[in-house]
Amino acid sequence: MKKPLDFLKCTRRGFIAGTATIGVSLLNGKSMKSVAHDLLNFEEIKIPTCCHMCGGGTGVIATVRDGVVAKLEPNKYNPIGVCNTSLNFTENQKDGAAMCPKGLSGIMALYDPDRVKKPLLRTNPEKGINVDPKWREITWDEAFDIIVRELKKLINEDRPEALITFSENSLATSIQRDFGNLFGTPNISFHTNICSATRKAATMAVFGVDEPLGDYQNSKYMLIFGWNPLSAVKWSHLPQILLNGKSNGSKLVIIDPRYSETAAKADLWYPIIPGTDGALALAMSHVIIEENLYNQEFIENWTFGFDEYKKYLKDKTPEWAEKICGVSAKDIKSLAIEFATNQPSIADAWIGPGQQSNGFNSIRAVLLLNVLVGSVDEPGGMMMTEEFKLGESPIRISPPKKKRFDGKEKFPFGHNSGVYVETFRQLFEENGPYKLDVAFITMSNLVLSMPNTSQVVEGLKKLKFIVVNDNYLNETSNLADIVIPGTTYLERFGLVTRGINWEYVALRQPVIKPLFNQYSEAEFFIELAKRLELKDQSGQVAFSNIRYEDYLDIRLQRSKANITLDELKEAPGGVWTSPESTEYRRYEKTVIKTETKKFQFSLSNSSKNISLNYILPEYQQRRWLPDKKYPYYLISWKHITHTHSRTQNNPYLSELKDQNYLYINPMTANSLGFKDGELVGVISPFGETKAQLRFSPGMHPEVLGTEWGFGHWAFGDYAREKGFAVNQLNKFLVDEVTGQALHKEICVNIRKI
């Protein structure tokens, strides 16, 4: 099926020396066939592709021996595993690329015997959290017939908007948008709003780009709030560029309520009270202005609202912030001075502050530190990254006029991935703008990944018909009516364009045929569109002669890369990188994409309908705070060994980490009489669960914490009944600016059981 690429031409027959026994059988002619043929005489090819064990898209070289994926290794032609600025690419590439343990466990995901192999039909009409759906295997035709019948009902009733989709990112994303447009529903939604929508909104508000990335390797000072890039390794180059930055003499400072894996490598770690990052950043800004350490020229030429900000900061002293965030005034002052005087510096914040109700302002306050010192789009500063854009879709159809179910337009910085929390709140409370009947859920375990598990389950039960497309049966598919077997990334096509500071597009391609002859997720939507005979704006049946490969091919040819899919397959490592290197100070050449066309301290000129406390990045307390009954903050994070709630059944990863713990400071635990390893009850106003305590001196004494993604009850054998699911303890809490789910805004108590 695949041709090996030129640079990797290593197809070979006769795989080196064998054992003595095999050596003999080689001479035995026929008998060799049965005994030794498989061992000695096989074809080995190496195929470049991109990982999708998480959304990072690391470059991979897959070795396939006689049709079996035998090895996954880093692909050094793909910048994701190397670095994020072109400046460092050649030098870093000498050390090769990198892959994380999740990526390296991809083969065990591919060959997991627990995978769904055939479409399944629910035969038990009763639905519930622990109700057996009584699956019956059906043919693909039967599955499509049933789904088409359900969707045609919506068409006949002229309410296509009663269809909603939920999906993992970077997986048939644009195909689902096209499908939604063709079908007539605006309710196409994706993962981002339960992940990092707050940071995207904050960066849009400040910089006018949605994912600026720090040039850490060339920085002199790295100040990171609520992000753990050495364990929550979103892009596999992150550890290298941060550690190279350190080797080059940069200081690494971590602000986090827990002593994270990144804090373990930091020069300084400041444990902070959750949700107070904004106060710390504001006080730092106060000092930088007071001490006259800001970049006056940059501010005059390229920013908007400095005077307003300066006025607001007047009383945001280190002493004021100390009382809020727990970092001493003295330390705040020295941090501010160090940050401003060690240039270029980077201040960054992700979902630590971002998944709390004041996250939009907190992250803006942090990002504005870069603006104050002018470390924007400079080598070693915060880069104004713009993702490579694919060309237009070949499907010509305009978006439907109907309003979205989730009310995304009510959120001034709402993300186009939608608002999952509002969708489920309205489903549960039955007070949405209209009725939803049908949901497609693609590679998303909403029951585990959404806050407020029990009400998410009840919300899903209110839908008439649910199609889950996944590799596994899990907590969400248990509420489905039909389950469609998904593909692993080793079986499907895709294009990866995100994560570095110069334009690139990398190919994800099937390294073997889908194991169960199943449709890839994108092909599933294409096939469905064809069977529904959905028409484009010219009245032609869409996708009638366009396979997914053609779709990608057309969009590649229409992009700046201007290459065909076949040319991308033939490119070294399956990657096209822009001949233009990482560009610095782009704001001098192109228009800044904020409303004022400047980097914005303030939104006072915004046409968006935002409330007054969001004009400036004001500090406001987060909404849910500890009280007598629930005295501890509960934070949660991603550990290097797992992605979301979807990798816990991988036996390799399960051996590294098979459960989560409730981490507690030993001082706190001792004062309450709890022992290390004790099983305790964790209670919030919205739920209760059991967790195993683990003492960790790196936890802030007022904070409990855990890794997310565990606590499965309906996933495969390796995953089931291990650890606990933190989302059983929270409620439908949504950020009012962005629509982000606020996973980290939970307060709990623990008790003996």
Partner: protein, 256 residues
């Protein structure tokens, strides 16, 4: 920050193997004296060694999994483990990661105790195990002070081994395929610096995948090799035992 106060130690060990191995190693350290081994390395040829820079190790275990995949190791067998240790008292906390491979000792205690000569110090410095000769007595496992060896009981991740587990793969200069009772099952197994890759001019799988680029591998006989240069100023684990490890560490010296 203030000076670190160390009030208690906590070992978080990433695998059961690591736990057992280290416990065994501690026992051996007290009871077993190391004599010189005849199998001195031939210094005229290449002598492989590894340097691990602990300042660049982030404890991600990419090495552990790259190795599992490369050597198709069964459950509970990890040629490479990362030992994680968090100590101190809030807020003066200290966390370290210590990757442990086979030290490929120049004076390997494991070689001496093998009754059938299955484990050997090769000319290139790698300590090897001949799975066909190994009788599974496991003396070498207790002799190794580093807990680097484990026994393949023939278990698989699934009752019916999955396609990958059952597929042919290479270790040393041989092709193996897991099947009932066949080698390397019922043999002792350990890290061999991916000798089958090294023979082809490739780096060990753990070095290739390392996220922090903390590992360096090469010829210690070549004074200009990266690994020789990096090895300067390095230290080894349990150096008091006289095993002369060929795996070196950079960064702050840990208790061993």
């Amino acid at each position: 920050m203030e000076e670190k106060k160390i009030t208690r130690k906590k070992f978080v060990i990433t695998s059961l193997l690591g736990t057992l191995g280290l416990v065994a190693g501690e026992l051996i350290r007290q009871s077993h004296s190391i004599d010189n081994i005849e199998n001195e390395v031939d210094t005229e040829n290449k002598k492989y060694g590894m340097v691990i820079d602990l300042d660049r190790c982030i404890g991600c275990n990419a090495c552990t999994i790259a190795c599992k995949q490369e050597n198709n190791t069964p459950p509970n067998i990890h040629y490479n483990v990362v030992i994680e240790k968090e100590e101190g008292e809030f807020p003066n906390v200290y966390n370290s990661f210590l990757p442990r491979v086979c030290m490929q000792c120049d004076k390997p205690p494991c070689v001496k105790v093998c009754p059938v000569g299955a484990t050997k110090k090769q000319k290139n410095g790698i300590v090897s195990i001949d799975y066909e000769t190994c009788i599974g007595c496991r003396y070498c496992m207790t002799a190794c002070p580093y807990g680097a060896r484990s026994f393949d009981f023939g278990e698989n991740y699934y009752d019916q081994p999955n396609t990958f587990e059952a597929s042919p793969y290479q270790e040393y200069d041989k092709i193996y395929q897991r099947g009932k009772g066949k080698a390397p099952q019922n043999s002792v197994r350990k890290c061999h610096f991916c000798s089958h890759r090294v023979d082809k001019g490739e780096l060990p799988a753990c070095v290739t995948a390392c996220l922090g680029k903390a590992r360096f591998f090469g010829d210690l006989n070549d004074p200009n090799s990266e690994v020789s240069i990096k090895a300067k100023g390095s230290w080894t684990l349990k150096s008091n035992l006289g095993t002369k490890p060929r795996t070196f560490y950079l960064g702050e010296k840990r208790d061993d």
